[in-house]
Amino acid sequence: MKFAMRIVEQRELLLATVILFMLVVIASINPGFVHPENLASVFNDTSILIILALGQMLVILTRCIDLSVAANVALTGMVVALINSVFPGVPIPLLLVLSLILGAGLGAINGAFVWLLSVPAIVVTLGTMSIYRGVIFLLSGGEWVNAHQMSPEFLALPRQVFLGLPVLSWIALVVMVAVYLLSRFRPFGRELYASGGNPHAAFYTGINVGLTQFKAFVISGALAGLCGYLWVSRYAVAYVEVANGFELQVVAACVIGGISIMGGVGSVGGVILGALFLGIINNSLSVVGVSQFWQLAISGSVILIAVIANSRSERRADRIILRKAIAADALQPNPGTAASR
């Protein structure tokens, strides 16, 4: 299946070309947009989307989906904002670790339902998505935590410039490298691809498919937790509706980046490009004087085109029955885990 690999590679190439083309068009209208400083700020703006999309990618590779990431961001963000407002003395690194742990815990709840109870991931995370938002309301009583309630250090961290880039951008770069190494060179990465590509065969091969899915949810959750702090400190406000609907942008970045929603196919490079693509659209439309409404329409069209491109690349003669069989399997949650217990 060099063919499909080529498509994935081409997908990255194609996306890079499209992004370059977009930049050329935007530059012709507003040359200021492609100024390195502005591009760096677009990247910084897209950092949170990139981090969340990379976590989501790990989950989708295992043939699951995490719709609760945005709610996780909001809940974790609210918790660290509340702690900061009540105990301003708590050091920021400790808050960062706390947001990672809390996010991982929320991810673990999703993962446990999928792994131990074999509930389809879309159902689990649709449920926890609402539950996590509800918990924010209970914690905050519906009140906002505003900038003046947060300590200056709390607000400063993502903005601090280090070697020419804000810390937020550096965190995104570190996550990019880490997820790349994890997915390409760690045994766990291979297990992710195997679990999603063919759960039956993975289980026969000695891979604990359910546990692999659980771990993917935990990592996705931890990254979402990290983004919770980053989001709240960057925008200097925490409330129930933070990042409302953002999970769709996250999934969109994955799909545009060539992650197969059926699991087992995709790469870090594609996801980063997919996220950057959305980031550039988000940032450029107002610059070139196009209504924000078009942003949604363009994102939606691109997602459809990406999905069609995926399904066409997978449509090969004499494999249709097999694909159907796999699709049918996908509807039954976790064949492996059910048998293992």
Binding site: M1, K2, P187, G189, Y193, A194, Y204, R319, A325
Partner: protein, 500 residues
Amino acid sequence: MTTDTPLFALRNVSKVFPGVKALDDVQLELYSGQVTALVGENGAGKSTLVKTMTGIYQPEAGDIWFNGEVVSFPNPEAARQMGITAIHQETVLFDELSVAENIFVGSYPTKGWLKSIDWSTMNERARAILAEIEAPLSPTAPLKGLSIGQKHMVAIARALSVKARVVILDEPTAALSHHEIQELYEIIERLKANGTAILFITHKFDEIFAVADRYTVFRDGRYIGAGSIKEVTEPELVEMMVARSVKDTYPKVEAELGDTVFSVKSLSHPTEFDDISFDVRRGEILGLYGLVGAGRTEIMKAIIGLSPKASGQVFLDGQPIDIRSPAEAIHHGIVYVPEERQQQGVMLDLPIYQNISLPQLHRTSKAGFLRPSREYELTQDYAKRLNVKTSNWSEVVNNLSGGNQQKVVIAKWLATDPKVIILDEPTKGIDIGSKAAVHQFMSELVQQGLAVIMVSSELPEVMGMADRIIVMHEGLITQTLLRSEASAEGIVSAATGGQS
């Protein structure tokens, strides 16, 4: 009943795909009231032929004759209108619909100007068709409760609902038990009596000689020959198929038997099997024969920790071991090559080398990071031994042929350096050439001191390859035979519950 002119014929038909001539000037004649067996290895062009006959493909050259006239099928519906239907190995039915709904799917009888479904007419007509093939099924029963054999009856009823003149049975018995195959034969007899022309595609020679009136042989997309089944013998047919002698189909080599390496004592399961005990020695091929549903695969799954066992013990080198998952089985050196290659065996989207290293990712990595060079080495060692045909170990498995995929699966397991290898239907659905390669390889394995447990439903394979044969019937071991004592009659009798 026999007529001189065929009801359906293909004359000088060719079908070309980019780079491949799938059908090269082929002939086929089907006669009313007769069963014609289509014989050929994988890749002989059988499935292309079926698709050409049913309007899925259009031939580049040649004519399709039906009822003495040249016809063309621009689409599947045209062929269906003509009364040409195919029943496939994996029949496409709808689990959530009723039997009658499945029979009439796509052409429901309707009533009124709203064209609402006429349920009573539909169920009545379904009942009539089911009675015709003497299938004891209720039209309103949901399909999901039926056995595979009963689902086949529904598929056949569907074929009959459109007044089938030509019925294509594409490996219909692959998933059926002995009893269900007998029922299928009876249905075929009834179709014949109705004057239907039947094309029967199968890999199993006993079936050809049991039901077919005529045969047609294809090889590499070409027509080789045809004739009456009475005037041909199995070796002649095989020779036409493969153009070589089949003496080496069962290259059984007596290996030196060593100590008992693996044994099972009183293994039981609440529903599937009871009190199973056997042992295997180094250098031995233990054959496990039984009909579908005898519990063989379930025993193997219990052994490797895929499904729970109620009671019993497993010993490796005399030591009791407890295996709770496939990972633990691999750790102990017991590996299982499952029956469903594509669903349970390979990762289609991963490259060959990643498939082969998959069971031992931790052994091919260092300090927690994978070493592709080590994975390539492993692949070269084992995939080469199995003669996997590819230009590149980074080739994705999906691009390989079925036979080569099976070789990748076996190479994957051998690379784990097992003590015991369990092969579940190792040659199911693969052509005679690949079969011989797999059998040859089994002989090599036991010569190297491995213990092989071979689960098989093919009597010639069990009698040709196994040193000892365990026969199972409905979850019980009914007989254990040495190779020298085995007779086909004795084994079949034990497998069907008779006493011999």
